[in-house]
């Protein structure tokens, strides 16, 4: 079975400061990892993914994520947060082994960026 943990329900950060949203995963075999963002009453928007290669992945809107195999983590980061980044962020995993084709999501982290 595959699973994702997002240990923080909410992250607060001041605009202009760096942000980190944490994610750890559990899968059989090599993981395919994704970050999605959800604004109120909207669908999930794809931010970035890790499949293979460089551990640091760059995505949309200045976000990046670092894959750490030894710590089974895939934390989302941004060097300088914007108020408009305030949203709900989901980490997700897909594994070719035993997880089928589906994405399994974490419980989400609400990011609040304040002036």
């Amino acid at each position: 079975a595959q699973s994702v943990a997002q240990p923080e329900d909410q992250v607060n950060v001041a605009e202009g400061n760096p942000l980190t949203v944490k994610c750890t995963y559990s899968v059989s075999g090599n993981p395919y990892l994704f970050w999605y963002v959800q604004y109120p009453n909207r669908g999930l928007q794809f931010l970035l993914k890790y499949i293979t290669g460089d551990n640091l992945v760059k995505g949309s809107y200045g976000f990046e994520a670092e894959f750490n195999k030894s710590q089974t983590s895939f934390h989302l980061k941004k060097p300088s947060a914007l108020v408009s980044d305030s949203a709900l962020y989901f980490c997700a995993v897909r594994s070719p082994l035993g997880g089928g084709n589906k994405l399994t999501f974490g419980t989400g982290t609400q990011l609040k960026v304040e002036l």
Binding site: Y32, G43, L44, Q45, T52, F90
Partner: protein, 114 residues
Amino acid sequence: AAGVIQSPRHLIKEKRETATLKCYPIPRHDTVYWYQQGPGQDPQFLISFYEKMQSDKGSIPDRFSAQQFSDYHSELNMSSLELGDSALYFCASRIRGGMNTEAFFGQGTRLTVV
């Protein structure tokens, strides 16, 4: 660019009624997923289809059924609705060609059962 289209966007039904949700994937996407997101919850996988065949099944109640048609659109049929079925229902699509392709989500259908 074309996105995943879901209809209707909002639906209000009474208990024990039926509902049909529709999903039109991005052109050339051959895989469709359905997810249910309750208030304050993460999206829960219901069912998926690849090339019109069911490819994976999650926590979909027996009262629900789904299919993918020849034009790749998909419909989620929900019968004997219960209050607990009130949720946001998302459809996502992707090209299955490789495990590394990401899924794109529609705006969702908000179902309210009263």
